[in-house]
């Protein structure tokens, strides 16, 4: 009984357990820490814990893939890459907390962020329906609370909306899982690839409802309706966290399902609707950006479109596709978080720097910051020399190669639409007319560091494209 699971099993899940347990450590430390410093104590410990988890996971990167806990969790390149993405995003979000939100709540917030992170990390490796479900719920439950953690009525509203809608979606997901279980008689994804299932309607309906749940979490149109409101309402760092972590985790699950749990996937019509909604969200997301006045809301729509691009890369489930999806996801992580970090920097109490108007004339107040901001926006718009540019090239070539040219076309159309929205902000920053100086809080150096890191990565990735080779999402 006690030699049922070997050390290998525990190694696989150790990173997420480290992160989860550090959360408890944060809570304890908060009791001990002096009141004036507790904000930084919590953030410090949190980031340290995340780093530890990241390092631990990273050390196993080159080990061959294997599944732990009887297929509950698969460790391997794919899992670890996603874990790293998630961890980095969590770190940046914590760094942003440095000057936003109430200090006395910081410990709890940090803990919740960490648990949410560990939930996403679980999704990254989850290979059976239970772990998928639990990871998803761990991630979401923490996020419901985090969204509501502000005195602004908008925040509470966003929490309520997120909770109700997300639970409904989870209902669909769960029901789908039940049907999948019924069809295959097993909760393992690997069991779902059995060719016999291709003819089983239970399997099909189950897969359908399952994908609905994933599409909701990825906020693909038309399941995106929640994200603009929630992003706008939630506190800035939480929005940043959500915009990457939720999507990364869910994308990992989807990739695993698409690559491992679909009978002869590349030719099967089973995934087509998912790619169709990806295409729709490229258009819808970019259109939604056009007349926004709140940067968080704008980024919500932008995220809808961007994740559409990422999913498009998986169309045809080619071996290269997943690598480019990861490349673009990483690019998206950094350019997106870069914008959030700058918004956090230029944030003041009354409005968390989230009103686009507050960027007006930024180039005259803080030229460097404005330049970097422009860089991130250019990247989101797919302008060179940024990772966004190369990422689009890679996705386009995948689509052309796998015969999904229509997705490529939609990608082009969507990007063309998005240009105006992104450049509107740039123009605003460089407009000669300067509005009265904002009361900008003295920001923590941490925030500057994260901005710098994002900027460097976004450029470097263009010329040293990072497309790891051992990231095929195996299920067995």
């Amino acid at each position: 009984m006690n030699n049922l699971f070997t050390a290998q099993d525990w190694n696989a899940v150790a990173p997420l357990f480290i992160v989860g347990c550090v959360a408890l450590l944060v809570l304890l430390a908060d009791l001990a820490a002096p009141k004036h410093a507790n904000r930084y104590v919590s953030i410090g410990i949190g980031i340290a814990g995340l780093a530890a988890g990241g390092v631990y996971a990273g050390m196993q990167y080159y080990a061959p893939a294997y599944d732990a806990f009887g297929g509950g969790f698969i460790n391997g390149g794919f899992t670890i890459v996603f874990e790293e993405i998630i961890i980095v995003a969590a770190m940046f979000s914590l760094a942003m907390c440095a000057n936003i939100g109430r200090a006395d709540r910081m410990a709890g917030v940090t803990a919740l962020i960490l648990w949410s992170t560990s939930g996403a990390m679980l999704m990254a490796g989850a290979a059976n329906l239970m772990t998928i479900f639990l990871g998803l719920e761990l991630l979401s439950l923490a996020l419901y609370c985090l969204c509501g953690l502000s005195d602004r009525p908008a925040a509470q509203e966003s929490a309520l909306k997120y909770l109700i809608l997300s639970s409904t979606a989870s209902g669909f997901l769960l029901f789908g899982m039940a049907l999948l279980f019924g069809a295959s008689g097993s909760v393992l994804l690997s069991a779902l690839a059995a060719p016999a299932l291709a003819a089983n309607p239970l399997y099909w309906i189950g897969a359908g409802l399952f994908l609905v749940g994933l599409a909701f979490k990825l906020s693909l149109a038309p399941f995106h309706v929640w994200s603009p409101d929630v992003y706008e309402g939630a506190p800035l760092p939480i929005t940043a966290f959500m915009s990457v972590v939720t999507k990364a985790g869910t994308l990992a699950v989807f990739a695993r399902f698409a690559y491992g749990a679909v009978p002869h996937a590349s030719s099967s019509p089973l995934l087509i609707p998912f790619f169709i909604v990806a295409g729709i969200s490229m258009i819808v997301g970019n259109l939604g950006m056009l007349a926004q006045t709140d940067i968080k809301r704008l980024l919500a729509y932008s995220g809808i479109a961007q994740i559409g691009y990422v999913v498009a890369a998986l169309a045809g489930t080619s071996a290269l596709g997943v690598r480019y999806a990861i490349y673009y996801l990483v690019a998206y992580t950094f350019m997106n978080l870069g914008v959030f970090a700058i918004a956090a920097l230029s944030s003041s109490d009354n409005e968390e720097g989230s009103r686009i108007a507050s960027f007006q004339g930024l180039a005259h107040r803080r030229p460097v910051l404005a330049a970097v901001m422009s860089l991130f926006l250019l990247a989101l718009a797919g302008f060179p020399p940024t990772a966004g540019f190369l990422g689009k090239i890679l996705i386009l070539s995948t689509n052309v190669g796998t015969g999904f040219a229509w997705l490529a076309g939609l990608l082009i159309a969507g990007t063309a639409i998005s240009l105006y929205a992104y450049f509107k902000i740039i123009r605003l920053m460089y407009e000669p007319h300067v509005r009265p100086h904002e009361t900008v809080r003295a920001a923590a150096p941490l925030a500057y560091v994260s901005v710098a890191v994002c900027a460097v990565v976004v450029i470097v990735m263009t010329f040293y494209p990072f497309t790891p080779s051992n990231v095929l999402p195996l299920v067995k």
């Binding site: 020399p385 052309v400 494209p465």
Partner: protein, 475 residues
Amino acid sequence: MSLVLILLPLLAGAVLFALPATDRTASRAIGCVAAAITFLLPLVSQGDGNVTAHWLSRPFTASLHFAWSGISFWLVLLLALCTFCAILSTNMNRPRVMIALLLMLEGSMMGVFTARDVLAFALFWDLMLIPPFFALVGWGGHRETAWRYLIYNFAGGLLLLLATAAFGVIYGSTDVIGTSHQLLGAWAPWIFAAFAFAFAVKTPVFPLHTWMPATYADSPPPMVSVVSAVQSKAGVYGLLVICLPFLSAAMAQTRWIFIIMGLVSLLYGAYVALVQTDGKRVVAYSSLSHLGLIILGIFSLNPIAIAGVIVYIVAHGLFSAALFLILGYVEQREGTRSLTRLGGLGAHNPKLAGAFTIAALGALGLPGLAGFAGELVILTGVFKAGLFWPALIALIPIVLASAYMLRLLQDIINGPEVADIPQRADLTLTEALALAPLLAALVVVGCYPHALLSTGFSAMPSVAAAPAAVVGERP
């Protein structure tokens, strides 16, 4: 070596921001030196400054590969020269920023012209949209002009992206500029269509030109002189180095579409230029007309015509840059560009009048100047390719050109002096120096286009490879 051409201007542009915002002389000096170096480097250095670094191996081979061989050489020189003159003549509020933008523009366009890799080409292609956009935001009169310029050209850039990806996947590598290989198969026409759209927008060609007059009219003179002189050539350059060597079969299939588009641009631009009252718009529409001729020349798919195209690219660059700079001087002095308000400047500004006259004559294709050499050789080739009517029709705009160019020239410098404009002083030494090289080059190229022509002939490997129907020699 050729990386210097790209990085030096960019760095110089960045350095300028260290200077005080109102500084003019220092930034001008730095800018001119940088531009001068980029001009001299290809001339003095041996070889073609080949630099290459691996970039992608999947989904297709791509490398950061730059060199200034072939057509690139001339465009690099043209670009450096125009930038030099533009910087020298920069004389407006916030000069430092303008010069920085000019340098960044030069750097990015150096990338376009020296890239040996289609992906790198596409990268710089988009990059070179940004400085003019900022110039329009900072100095332009109307906000929507900037949008129109950016979105229109970026739409083209996106299709270029798509085409590049498809090209890479089909051909396996994008490190191809300078080589030649017929791309056949079902994809080829679509790839060509995407490329062609991007290039046609940039050039621009008739139905896709509406971003151009507004942009040229609104941009500050130094910027527009470079944009019209060199940036508009990027499209033509793309057609020459990407489409001709790889897709000339597809070009041959669709040539009539483009020949007609070219002819329409020729006539349309000329007729519209005939009635414009804004000096800059006259030149803008004349550019539409002239570039129509270039398109016609390219799609005649005849070696002689292509050789002429090379000459005409340079020629148009020289005289349009000069014209825009001169109009800039005039506007700066007299505060207006309206042909109806200006007049009689020649009496007090002989230097201005002289320079203006030479530039205008170059534009209307006066024999002995570069424009004429280009027109003549292009149309000779077009006719030789068996395109009788296009060659004949293409002669009408030449007559119209003399009409509208003389109108532009005479309405500004001839006639009795106009009372209600300031009539300020003649060209300063700097301004004259900024024009001199352009006009001198106009004459030299007009008499001795040999080198350009030979480049043009060597730029045509694919036509030899292409089916005989393409080359359409008269039987």
